[in-house]
């Protein structure tokens, strides 16, 4: 195993991981504010990708306008989902919410391909295909740009959480009743979190769509995003950043090092193994807060 290959794999792992992280970010945002797990986050990314393609090709908008339109649409969509569905699930067992979001995923997986056709749709952001070569190391341009944008968005979200509105959202995540009593509009904060999560999913959908084309398989990014959010801690936004890099690099190196040994695509289960290990060793993730149960 040569060193340069390792470097290349590590770099692409970091970049791809950050792109996964964008989806994980939405999961963490929603969990942090409302305590619900959104397993439809991958499907939201897919829907965002489809929306962008639809605005660009069917409505004939230029790409930048299509992106803005899709972001806006999905923001509203996210808030609508919260308003119509999730708000009614408060107080229901966890499994109900899990099933609801899985139902949503099934539904969205029908809508996108059903309306726009099931063949892979191109989504061209105008990123050139030619590789960047530094020394002997090749860097994949598409992932470099995608990873950079993802990192920026993640950092921007962390910054947002330190701003005034962020403080309110954090308060909501700490204690809904207490936030209510000091005049924070809890419902609005949760709705904003959903809107933001859907918009972030759309951003991820667009980036991934430009890398792989838009089709139903975008919804499969969920598993990686789950691994990241669990590793980082479901209620830690900053955790996403580090966990994304860890998961990305682990997957990349597993492909490079383990695959030749076992003769199979181990990448498939890296995310699963990370989830399992995290839950067994440190259930609340690297940066998550442990909840102590009171009797």
């Amino acid at each position: 195993m040569d060193f340069i290959l390792l470097c290349e794999l590590a770099i692409s792992g970091v970049l791809v991981g950050l792109m996964y992280g964008l989806i994980a970010l939405g999961i963490v945002l929603i969990y942090k504010t409302s305590g619900l797990a959104n397993l439809a986050q991958g499907a939201l990314a897919m829907a965002g990708g489809y929306a962008t393609v639809a605005f660009a090709t069917l409505a004939g908008l230029p790409m930048w306008a299509a992106i803005i339109a899709a972001l806006a649409l999905m923001w509203l969509g996210g808030m609508l989902i919260e308003r119509v569905m999730l708000r009614r699930m408060i107080g229901q067992p966890v499994i109900m919410v899990i099933m609801l979001t899985l139902g949503l995923e099934i539904f969205l997986r029908g809508v996108g391909p059903g309306l726009f056709g099931s063949a892979v749709k191109p989504l061209d952001l105008g990123i050139r295909q030619a590789p960047i070569i530094i020394g002997d190391i090749l860097i994949n341009r598409a992932y470099l740009i995608g990873g950079a944008i993802s990192a920026l968005l993640i950092i921007a979200t962390i910054a947002l959480f330190n701003s005034q509105i962020g403080v309110r959202m954090r308060a909501v995540s700490d204690d809904q009743t207490a936030s209510w009593s000091v005049g924070i509009r809890v419902e609005r904060m949760i709705a904003i979190a959903w809107g933001l999560a859907a918009a972030l999913a759309t951003a991820a959908g667009i980036l991934w769509g430009s890398v792989q084309g838009v089709d139903w398989s975008l919804s499969l990014l969920l598993m990686k995003a789950l691994a990241i959010s669990i590793l980082g801690g479901l209620d830690s936004i900053a955790g996403v950043l580090l966990a994304a890099v860890v998961v990305g690099v682990a997957e990349s190196l597993a492909t490079g090092i383990l695959d030749p040994l076992v003769g199979g695509g181990t990448r498939d289960i890296v995310a699963s193994v990370i989830i399992l290990m995290t839950l067994l060793v440190r259930p609340y993730g690297l940066f998550g807060r442990e909840h102590i149960e009171r009797v």
């Binding site: 692409s12 892979v120 070569i133 090749l138 598409a142 792989q212 695959d259 003769g263 498939d268």
Partner: protein
């Protein structure tokens, strides 16, 4: 929830709707073909176009009056790559006297093998299913009717050999989806590497292949002389994009049969110039049968889908399968015009197709009681930015190796049911 009239009404009407009888064709005699296919899950990349071609050809056939007063009814339904649904469709077809089933999905074809054999219903496994089903003595009712993956692999290697004159010391790598389908061609590549002296290496990626970021840097560092990428749908477009992004020479890159014009459009029509693939049926609108369909079906507004798709690779594969199925039907009528019109009856026909080319769409297909593959012929084509251009004549390669594998696995199936 409160029970009220609305709930009851909704439930009741839903119950009634699902059980409507088959569409009543005007007192025509029908031969029934079933096409439970995957429109919603894994095979979405091909099914819509394939089905369009298949239906258009059958419409053409029916428009021209059918055969012996019979027309063909093709029932198209989604099985979503879910076995209970495929089984339900199969059993329904069995009951309603269908003589042929075309599931177009490797897992479904595998799952239905025992039923097809027991119930004597012809199961067409176009470019899918078990490769060893080519052995008609073991799988009398399973009909690949198209070059299996082993034949495709052999032809691809044969093409490389013709280009380089000698493969000794060359390196060929296979980037494949990590499923039984992706792993299937490996024995052929290995067998041929012993015979031809090339070095062979594999790179599996996780299904469905939407993320291959860590594979291609390794492929690049392996410095291969030829790269074969073996997947389907999104795995193919991603493989292509990644090959480009990693700066691999595209004219030394070949795919199996599952690469289409729309894949090229996704990655970029010009960016993908030079890519090779295996072809089982001629693409484009030039073949006479496609022209006929355009004139007699599409122009009359009876086309099964958007006109723009007519003549694409997968559409033509659909036409090819429609044509071969109908040819089998013709042969069955030749042999026994008065029926009984059952699975075994059609089986006789499907197994005696001789030199059928569908008026130039296909390489000559000849099936026998032993050979359900039809000869394993195909050719290699190259993408020129607008269409796939043939690089070789129709032909088959290393059928001795291919049949060696076929016999090995069909024997195993016969002996131990693997």
């Amino acid at each position: 929830m409160q029970i009220d009239r609305r709930t009851l009404l909704a439930g009741g009407s839903a119950l009634v709707l699902g059980q409507l009888p088959l569409p009543a064709f005007a007192q025509e005699k029908l031969i029934k073909f079933g096409a439970p296919q995957d429109f919603t899950k894994v095979y979405t990349f091909v099914t819509a176009e394939y089905s369009q071609g298949q239906r258009d050809y059958i419409t053409l056939f029916n428009e021209r009056g059918g055969i012996n007063g019979f027309k063909v009814h093709l029932d198209v339904i989604d099985h979503g790559n879910d076995l209970p649904r495929a089984i339900e469709a199969f059993e329904r077809y069995k009951r309603e006297g269908y003589v042929l089933v075309d599931p177009l999905s490797t897992p479904m074809a595998r799952g239905l093998v025992t039923r097809a054999l027991e119930d004597k219903i012809n199961m067409v496994t176009t470019l899918s299913g078990r490769s060893d089903a080519a052995d008609g003595t073991v799988f009398p009712y399973v009909m690949p009717l198209s070059p299996n993956y082993w034949s495709q692999a052999a032809l691809i290697i044969d093409f490389f050999l013709k280009q380089d004159k000698n493969l000794k010391g060359k390196k060929i790598v296979l980037v494949h989806i990590d499923t039984p389908f992706g792993r299937e061609p490996i024995p052929i590549f290995q067998a041929l590497s012993q015979r031809l002296g090339y070095e062979f290496q594999t790179f599996p990626y996780a299904p469905p292949g939407n993320d291959q970021s860590a594979i291609w840097p390794q492929v690049r560092r392996a410095r291969p002389d030829w790269v074969i990428f073996w997947g389907a749908g999104v795995g193919q477009t991603v493989a292509l994009s990644e090959a480009i992004r990693n700066g691999l020479p595209l004219d030394r890159l070949s795919s199996s049969v599952w690469l289409s014009e729309s894949d090229m459009a996704v990655v970029g029509k010009d960016a993908t110039k030079g890519v090779l693939k295996f072809e089982a049926a001629a693409g484009g609108r030039e073949p006479k049968v496609i022209q006929d369909i355009l004139k007699e079906v599409v122009a009359k507004g009876k086309g099964a889908g958007p006109e723009g798709k007519v003549g694409t690779s997968y559409y033509n594969i659909g036409v090819m399968m429609g044509a071969i199925q109908i040819e089998g039907l013709r042969k069955a009528f030749e042999k026994a015009p008065n029926g009984p019109y059952t699975g075994p009856w059609l089986n006789e026909g499907l197994r005696s197709i001789a030199n059928f080319t569908a008026e130039g769409l296909l390489p000559p297909i000849t099936t026998t009681k032993e050979d359900h593959q039809g000869g394993g012929r195909g050719r290699i084509v190259r993408w020129d930015g607008a269409k796939f251009v043939p690089q070789s004549d129709w032909g088959a390669a290393y059928q001795d190796v291919v049949w060696g594998e076929i016999r090995k696995y069909s024997e195993e199936f016969k002996k131990s049911g693997k």
